[in-house]
């Protein structure tokens, strides 16, 4: 299981690297500290952004109201695989106690606030760092046994890597006694495995669809950069002129969307919540709960009781089939793999919940683990310095969870319109 996830991580990381290669940053001058000067964010600016953002978060997200009087303290500087600064993490401190953390991008080519949560940053949890050191030590022992001179490599200091939300790695350089680099070992911190970015071990299923292809991902990357640049401009404006803040933020949540617990698979469950909403909003012939989720799972060909996964292109068809089965042929369900923030707001403002299917989805508030490949029901949004979608995520039937818009490698919305 861990190996499989790790393999997918490697692929996503490769995509990130490829995606970054398409960004027009080739001519950027580089400082000796490894940061692109063109769009670099200094640690002082990042600290200002972190302080400003936690105030905004505490005022807009009820779960984080206790952050209102908190302060921030720099924890770690992260790098990408090209040895350039990628992010800064700050501990959020209240009454001398660490109550959470926030990650700020070290480049304006990415969103200002990358992620935040209660709890501790992974590389500050001794359990994870100790495990990573043990793995590197094991690798050093292997190298010693494999070498002719039986010399044990010297393990260098840990260099924290941050490739995107939830992709935390620790890089160690193994050197010989003369200080010459022998090998770089990268450990996936959450999964405690050594990863090799030059190698892929993902099995490719024998199935064709053209939803999340490379053109799509390049496009997503370009949109992300454009959006990120725009968010930095807005944020800097608001930080210098706080009066502009109150007029620029807005939020909306659709009431009456049921919360379904995961069953059969995330895609039928998330779709079930959307149709469950319509069942109580004028379409009473639609069934709800178990019967609805089961019917959706069959209609969209969810692999159950196998893997519980669903092909993205079958989600909209499955929803329409179920609506037709119950006499509603006026429902239009359509997949949109280029989902934009404007579309999200328009749909929510029209009181139409929709299914959001993510590739490498980030971490929702209240969790320490990422969503990964997951379908959720989007029931609202918060439009501020950082944009958030409000979700019924199939994991928790008591709370709405928030996720920063764009904290995924790819996403598809399934609009459901009667």
């Amino acid at each position: 299981m861990i190996k499989k996830k790790s393999g997918i991580d490697v692929i996503f990381a490769a995509i990130l690297i490829v995606g970054l290669a398409f960004l027009p940053s080739v001519n950027a001058q580089e400082e000796s500290n490894g940061t692109d000067t063109s769009n670099a964010v200094s640690v002082d600016i990042a600290e200002e952004v972190a302080s400003y953002s936690i105030k905004e978060i505490s005022g807009s997200l009820s779960n984080f109201s206790e952050w209102a009087n908190a302060t921030v303290k720099l924890s770690t500087v992260y790098y990408n695989l090209d040895n350039k600064k990628s992010a800064y993490s700050f501990n959020i401190v209240e009454n001398n106690q660490q109550v959470g953390y926030i990650f700020i991008s070290a480049t304006k080519d990415n969103y200002p606030v990358l992620e935040f949560s209660k709890g501790k940053i992974l590389n500050e949890i001794p359990e994870f760092t100790t495990r990573s050191k043990s793995l590197v030590q094991e690798r050093a022992n292997e190298i010693k046994l494999e070498s002719t001179d039986k010399e044990e490599p010297v393990i260098g200091e840990m260099k924290p890597l941050y490739l995107s939300p939830t992709f935390y790695y620790a890089e160690y350089t193994l050197t010989d006694k003369k200080g010459r680099a022998k090998e770089k070992v990268i450990v996936d911190l959450p999964f405690s495995t050594i990863v090799d970015f030059n190698e892929s071990n993902v099995n490719i299923p024998d199935k064709k669809n053209y939803y999340f292809n490379n053109t799509y991902l390049q496009h997503q990357q370009e949109i992300r950069k454009k959006d990120a640049n725009a968010q930095w401009i807005t944020l800097e404006k608001e930080m210098t002129d706080p009066s502009s803040y109150s007029t620029s933020s807005s939020s909306k949540s659709i009431s009456g969307v049921p919360k379904y617990k995961w069953y059969y698979g995330c895609s039928p469950t998330a779709s079930g919540m959307v149709l469950g909403y319509w069942a109580s909003h004028g379409y009473s012939y639609l069934v709800t709960g178990y019967d609805l989720v089961r019917e959706l799972a069959y209609a969209m060909g969810t692999d159950w009781p196998g893997s519980g996964s669903t092909w993205p292109y079958k989600i909209d068809d499955g929803i329409e089939t179920v609506c037709n089965n119950h006499g509603y042929d006026n429902f239009d369900a359509s997949n949109d793999i280029y989902v934009s923030w404007t579309e999200v707001k328009t749909e929510v403002n029209a009181n139409k919940p929709f299914v959001l299917s993510m590739l490498n989805g980030g971490t929702g508030n209240g969790y320490t683990q990422p969503y990964g490949e997951h379908s959720v029901t989007c029931i609202g949004y918060y439009d501020g310095n950082q944009d958030y979608v409000y979700l019924h995520d199939t994991w928790d039937t008591s709370n709405v969870h928030y996720l920063a818009f764009g904290s995924w490698t790819g996403a598809m919305a399934t609009w459901v319109r009667p």
Binding site: K208, K259, Y263, G265, D303, T310, G372, S375
Partner: protein
């Protein structure tokens, strides 16, 4: 110097082409789901309030039989401790270790527990909140009871609650600290079990905690039918 630069550019171009081809192949064929939390997040599945912050590290009352272990604390010293396993052999080993620890440190017994009333209350309350959870397991099942001066309570084992093809195993302890009077606490603990059970999925098996040899015997008997 110039040729070095050119070589680097060619290498980068080759890398990009290979990576793009790989990406094209992979992203044409990625399905969504199952959409379950990774192993680290699984213990929270059975801890009411886990995602509102009521999730602490594993209790020290028992051996740490799984790296994926968390606890939830509730009023009147009640607690839930969850050990999660994503591998059957690790689960069997952990279950056996825990069972022998219990035998050495307290009084172990089997009991049938019926939570119909408590579960019905939870279902009705959650329906009023517009929530739904798949509860298709039995409302009455065998549990392993445990009494010791430090804590007393019930152990339940949930096997493969999501998908038949996935290895998901949970050992869950519902208990009260600093008491041996389980009869007095039974009503409150049944309510706690019902809250947690509501969060379970309808598939798989719910059973008591058993030592390895007892499990083997049960399996042999089962194979006759």
């Amino acid at each position: 110097m110039f040729s070095k630069k050119v070589n680097k550019k060619i290498a980068l171009l080759v890398f990009l082409i290979i990576a793009l081809l790989g990406v094209w192949l992979i992203f044409d064929v990625i399905p969504i789901g199952p959409g379950l939390p990774p192993s680290e997040g699984m213990p929270g599945w059975y801890i009411p309030g886990a995602w509102q912050g009521n999730e602490q590290g594993c209790t020290s009352l028992f051996p740490k039989i799984s790296p994926y272990c968390n606890a939830g604390n509730y009023s009147q010293e009640k607690l839930i401790n969850v050990w999660y396993f994503d591998d059957e052999s690790e689960f069997l080993k952990g279950e056996d270790t825990l069972y022998h620890y219990l035998e050495e440190n307290g009084n172990v017994f089997y009991q049938e527990l019926n939570i119909s009333e408590e579960l019905q209350e939870v279902i009705e309350r959650r329906e009023a909140e517009n929530a739904w959870g798949p509860i298709y397991g039995p409302y009455s099942f065998n549990v392993t009871g445990y009494k010791s001066p430090e804590t007393s309570g019930y152990f339940l084992v949930y096997e493969k609650p999501f998908l038949k093809g996935r290895d998901d195993y949970f050992v869950v302890y519902y208990g009260v600290s600093n008491t041996t009077n389980l009869t007095k606490e039974a009503t409150e603990l049944k309510k706690l079990i019902a809250e947690s059970y509501y969060m379970a999925n309808g598939e798989g098996k719910v059973d008591s905690l058993k030592p390895g040899n007892k499990k083997e015997k049960d399996n042999i008997l089962f194979s006759w039918f």
